[in-house]
Symmetry: C2
Subunit: 222 residues, 2 copies
DNA sequence: ATACAAAGTTAGTCTATCCTAAATTATTTT
DNA sequence: AAAATAATTTAGGATAGACTAACTTTGTAT
């Protein structure tokens, strides 16, 4: 099937539907409106159009879903985005909190050639700097390690940070200063009502629960 | 003065006005329409808008000119474009005929940060792969060597290619195969009605006049 | 000087995407 | 189960940037 040419806006809709679907069972108009920063009627309108293009399915007053074609496109955009994030961080010295914004704009305009070139340069990575999986060139989602939010771990555990579940620049900035980022090994000292006390590279921090739930870890031992 | 936020379309108008002004004394609506691939009424309409924003000056039925602010923006876009071209060629292995198209899309979406990052990486170059001057960070146009079109040179001259005056992909592709590109040293064997016979890296070619006029050279001796 | 051609402009449409206000449907509370 | 609330949709409108058709201005050639 021929790939339709989509506007940036349309690509964003498909991408957000995909990301929301990963979290929730069903994707509501309102969630989409919030994520895309538009009013709900705009979403209804655009969804109608995407429906007509066979990229999404929509039962009025029920949720939205991607069709197979729609999902392919969403994955392509996501691949662009996440490859770009890693690329910006690794090769252009972007700090951890700057990559998302730039990738958000670039993801829609880079060619297949550009995508292939940076994928090569990065040695075909499977995860971006936030720990999000990067769809492969044939648009499969790579396996990710089993992860749990930091605040759900018990005391006295060693763990490796696998993924950071926010795009908030200030939080990302903070976390990167504290070296609480994917790839880091941490030691969980105590988990109580005041927060989670962790040790990273010799430094100890008390991480509040609100933040700890954004930090997903894979246990290295019990 | 605060820099206005422009659409990609508006940026393209300013950039083309600038480029046309370098060639011709006056920039006509029709030239613009041709370059931008739109109809003349669209140009009139957009020029009106840019006029109202104090980015261009326009006497109806006469030509268009950039204001100081307009020129600054044009130079910024041009800097993005030309830095990107060099970047794509040097760091992402783009072939010589592919860089223009990609840069054309990227130039509008990269941030100041991106611009600075690749400028650094490229060691603040003054010319792009076509030999076009890259405006500096403070938007001055760097000095370029004195150049003449290849077809205007006399027999038996050594020369260095300085600039290629076309964006046609097929011609660029051809020239790069023949190694007729900026930086190359060439020897001019003969220049007659049949064309210009040149020697490059040991190979001889007969370059037709139509192509030779696109290849601008600096003489290395007489 | 007039007439014609070329270039430029005006007027009126179209499409994409967003918006607000109002109406409808679904869900939750009592 | 009725009322209240929340989510969604419909209707109608705005704006940006393109378009065509028709008109105006300018410049040129006889």
């Amino acid at each position: 099937m021929k790939k339709p040419v989509l506007s940036e806006s349309q690509e964003d809709y498909l991408k957000e539907i995909f990301k929301l679907r990963e979290m929730n069972e069903t994707v509501s108009m309102q969630d989409l409106a919030r994520k895309l920063d538009v009013r709900p009627p705009s979403v209804t309108g655009m969804i109608k159009k995407l429906c007509a293009m066979n990229l999404v399915e929509h039962e009025p007053y029920k949720g939205v879903q991607l069709t197979e074609t729609g999902e392919k496109i969403a994955l392509e955009v996501l691949r662009h985005h996440r490859l770009l994030e890693l690329y910006l961080a690794r090769h252009l010295n972007y700090s951890w909190d700057e990559i998302h914004e730039e990738a958000e704009r670039l993801e829609h305009v880079i060619s297949e050639k550009f995508e292939a070139a940076i994928a090569d340069l990065l040695d075909h990575p499977t995860h971006d700097p936030h720990g999000d999986p990067i769809p492969t060139a044939d648009l499969e989602i790579p396996e990710s390690p089993d992860l749990l939010p930091l605040n759900s771990l018990k005391n006295c555990v060693n763990a490796g940070i696998g993924r950071i579940m926010t795009q908030d620049k200030d939080i990302l900035n903070l976390l990167s200063r504290l070296e609480l980022m994917p790839g880091q090994e941490i030691e969980l000292i105590k988990n109580d009502a005041t927060g989670i006390r962790v040790k990273v590279n010799g430094n100890q921090y008390l991480v509040p629960h609100t933040i700890a739930m954004l930090i997903w870890c894979g246990k290295t031992d019990i």
